[in-house]
C-alpha cells in the first residue's frame, strides 16, 4: 500500500517507489545488537579511547613543559626584578561542592581531567572536567552554586561538564533544582534537560530511564525530544521512547533521601520542616483545616532528627507538637489530636 505518497511522475520514479518498497519489505527490520552487548562493547571501547586521550594530553603537557623550561630560564631574570606583591594564580572556579558522602571510605572518588585520582571530602570543591565515581556502596550528594542538588547513586560515574551539565556514563543521578533551571544530564542515549524540577536519570542497559518527580524534563537525542512530566517514567533509546505513570514517592526513590543532607530542625517552623521532608520523599502535605496550617507555621521545632528514618522523624516532630499525622499513598495529612 502506498497511501499519501508523492505521485510518481514517470516510469523511472514509479519503479523507484515500487523497488524501494519491495526491497525494504524483503529485508525487514535491521539486526539490532542486544543491549548487553552494546553496553559491554561501549564500556571497553570507551575505556580504551579515554586512556588514549589521557596519554596524548600527558605527552602534550610534557612537550609543553620542556619547551617552556628554556623560556622560564630567561623569564626568571625578569620576574626577579618585579615586586613580589602580585596576586597568586587564582584556583579554577568550583563548578560544585560535595554536600554529603555515604558508604565506606574509598568507595567514592574524584578523577581530575589530568587523570589524578583524589578522595572526596565534604565541602570539597569540584571543578569542570572532574569525574565523580562511586563504588558498589558509595553515594555522593553535590550542590551547585545556584542551590541545585545532585546526588550520584552507587556504582555510578558522572563528569562535570561546565557549571550546568553532567555527563553520566554509568549508574544514576537524582537532581533537585529547587527552582533553578537549565541543568543538563547527558547520557550516551539522550540528554535530559530540566525545567525546574526533581528527577532521576538512570542508565539501564542500552537505554536511559527518566523518572520525573516534580516539574518537567526534556529528554532528547539527535532526532527526537520528548517531555516527561511529574509522575511519569520514560524509557528512551535509539528505537523507543515509552512513557508511563510512575509514583513520585516510594521505595524506588529511597536512595535519593539516604544521601540527602539531614534537615536541621532547630528553630525551624513545623510547616517548613514538613515541606522540606515532603519534598525529599515526594509526598504532598495536607492540613486538616486552614487554621491548622496557620498554627503549623507558628510551631517552632527544637532538637535534632538527624539519623532518623523519615517516619521516625515525623513521629518526633509532629508527636511533640501535639498533632497527629496519617501517611497514605504519598499524602501526608496532618490533624489535631482531637480531630482523628
Amino acid at each position: 500500500m502506498i497511501d499519501n505518497d508523492p505521485t510518481p511522475t514517470g516510469d523511472d520514479e514509479r519503479n523507484e517507489v515500487e523497488m524501494t518498497m519491495r526491497l525494504l519489505r524483503l529485508a525487514g527490520q535491521p539486526t539490532v545488537p542486544a543491549d548487553e552487548r552494546l553496553v559491554r562493547v561501549r564500556t571497553r571501547v570507551h575505556a580504551h579511547w579515554d586512556a588514549g586521550v589521557r596519554r596524548r594530553l600527558a605527552r602534550r603537557r610534557a612537550a609543553l613543559w620542556t619547551g617552556m623550561l628554556a623560556a622560564a630560564a630567561v623569564l626568571v631574570m625578569i620576574v626577579s626584578r618585579i615586586d613580589d606583591g602580585s596576586a597568586p594564580t587564582p584556583a579554577p572556579a568550583a563548578a560544585a561542592w560535595v554536600a554529603m558522602i555515604s558508604g565506606p571510605p574509598g568507595d567514592t572518588r574524584r578523577v581530575e581531567s589530568s587523570g589524578r585520582v583524589l578522595p572526596l571530602a565534604v565541602d570539597g570543591a569540584l571543578h569542570d572536567g572532574d569525574t565523580i565515581e562511586t563504588g558498589a556502596a558509595g553515594r555522593v550528594a553535590m550542590r551547585f552554586a545556584d542551590g541545585t542538588s545532585m546526588r550520584l547513586d552507587s556504582s555510578s560515574r558522572g563528569r562535570l561538564a561546565g557549571m550546568r551539565a553532567v555527563d553520566l556514563s554509568s549508574g544514576a543521578v537524582y537532581v533537585d533544582t529547587g527552582g533553578a533551571a537549565g541543568l543538563e544530564i547527558r547520557t550516551p542515549f539522550g540528554i535530559a534537560r530540566d525545567i525546574g524540577t526533581q528527577f532521576e536519570v538512570r542508565l539501564v542497559a542500552a537505554r536511559v530511564r527518566l523518572r520525573v518527580r516534580t516539574g518537567a524534563v526534556e529528554l532528547s537525542d539527535r532526532r527526537r525530544t520528548v517531555t516527561g512530566h511529574a509522575g511519569t517514567e520514560i524509557l528512551f533509546s535509539a528505537t523507543e521512547a515509552e512513557s508511563r505513570p510512575f509514583a513520585p514517592f516510594g521505595p524506588e526513590w529511597q536512595w535519593t533521601a539516604e544521601v540527602a543532607a539531614p534537615i536541621d530542625i532547630e528553630g525551624l517552623p513545623l510547616s517548613t520542616y514538613l515541606e522540606r521532608l515532603a519534598r525529599e520523599q515526594g509526598w504532598s502535605v495536607q492540613y486538616a483545616d486552614s487554621s491548622l496550617a496557620r498554627d503549623a507555621r507558628g510551631i517552632i521545632l527544637h532538637g535534632s532528627v538527624a539519623g532518623l528514618a523519615p517516619a521516625d522523624a515525623l513521629d518526633v516532630a509532629i508527636g511533640t507538637s501535639g498533632l497527629r499525622y496519617l501517611l497514605e499513598n504519598g499524602r501526608l495529612v496532618v490533624t489535631r489530636e482531637t480531630s482523628r
Binding site: D5, P6, N15, L23, V41, V45, R54, P188
Partner: protein
C-alpha cells in the same frame, strides 16, 4: 556534523563526540560483521569491538577520501579475516566474491524469482545489501523510508515524527528514495528494474 569534524572532536577527547561516534557506528558495524560471520553474535561483538578500538587508535590516519563508515568497514573486514584465520572457521569471503553473490541476488530480484523457496540465500543477501545501503544513508532518510515502507505510516505521521510539515516530509521521502537507490546501487553493483538489472559502475 561532518566526518572530519567528528574525527577532530574525538581526537581532542570530547566525550559527546564519543557518544555520537558509538551510537552511529556500533550498530552499523555490528550488522556489517554479523552478515559476514554467519550470524555469530559473539564473534561479531569481538570483531566490532576490535575494529572500533583500532579505528579510534588510527583516527589521525583518516583522510576523508571515503566516509568514516566505509573506512571503519575496511578495518572491520580485516578484523573479520583475522578472526576467521585465528579461529580456523571457514574462510573469509573476498570483496569480489561478495560482489558476485550480490549480482546473482539482484538478477533474481529483477527476474522475479527471489521469492522461490530455493532462493533463501539470495533473499538473505538482498536483505544484507538493503541494510548496508540504509546504514550509509543519513539517519533521517533511513528512518523515513522504514516508517513509510515497513511500518506503512501515512506521510502526515512521518511529518510529525520528523517535526516538519507535510510538503517537507514528501520532499524528504523523495530525496530519501533517490539516496537509497544510489546507495543500494553502490553496495549491490546495480539496481533491479521491471525490465532487468541496471548495472552501476564497478566500485573501486
Amino acid at each position: 556534523m561532518s566526518d572530519a569534524s567528528l574525527v577532530r572532536r574525538l581526537w581532542a577527547g570530547e566525550e559527546a563526540a564519543f557518544d555520537e561516534f558509538f551510537a552511529l557506528y556500533f550498530p552499523r558495524l555490528y550488522r556489517f560483521a554479523i552478515a559476514r560471520l554467519n550470524g555469530n553474535e559473539d564473534a561479531s561483538e569481538e570483531v566490532v569491538q576490535r575494529s572500533l578500538i583500532r579505528g579510534l587508535d588510527r583516527l589521525h590516519t583518516f583522510k576523508g577520501d571515503a566516509s568514516l563508515l566505509t573506512w571503519l568497514c575496511t578495518i572491520c573486514r580485516h578484523e573479520i579475516s583475522d578472526w576467521i584465520a585465528r579461529e580456523g572457521r571457514g574462510r573469509a569471503i573476498s570483496l569480489s566474491e561478495e560482489k558476485e553473490v550480490a549480482r546473482l541476488a539482484i538478477d533474481s530480484l529483477a527476474a522475479g524469482d527471489i521469492d522461490q523457496p530455493d532462493n533463501a540465500l539470495r533473499r538473505s543477501e538482498v536483505s544484507r545489501l538493503v541494510h548496508s545501503a540504509l546504514d550509509h544513508l543519513p539517519d533521517r532518510y533511513g528512518d523515513a523510508l522504514k516508517w513509510k515502507y515497513l511500518e506503512e505510516l501515512p506521510v502526515e505521521q512521518i511529518a510529525g515524527r520528523l517535526g516538519v510539515g507535510h510538503k517537507a516530509a514528501e520532499s524528504l521521502l523523495t530525496r530519501a528514495r533517490a539516496a537509497f537507490r544510489e546507495s543500494f546501487s553502490r553496495v549491490a553493483g546495480g539496481w533491479a528494474t521491471a525490465s532487468g538489472t541496471a548495472r552501476s559502475r564497478e566500485e573501486p
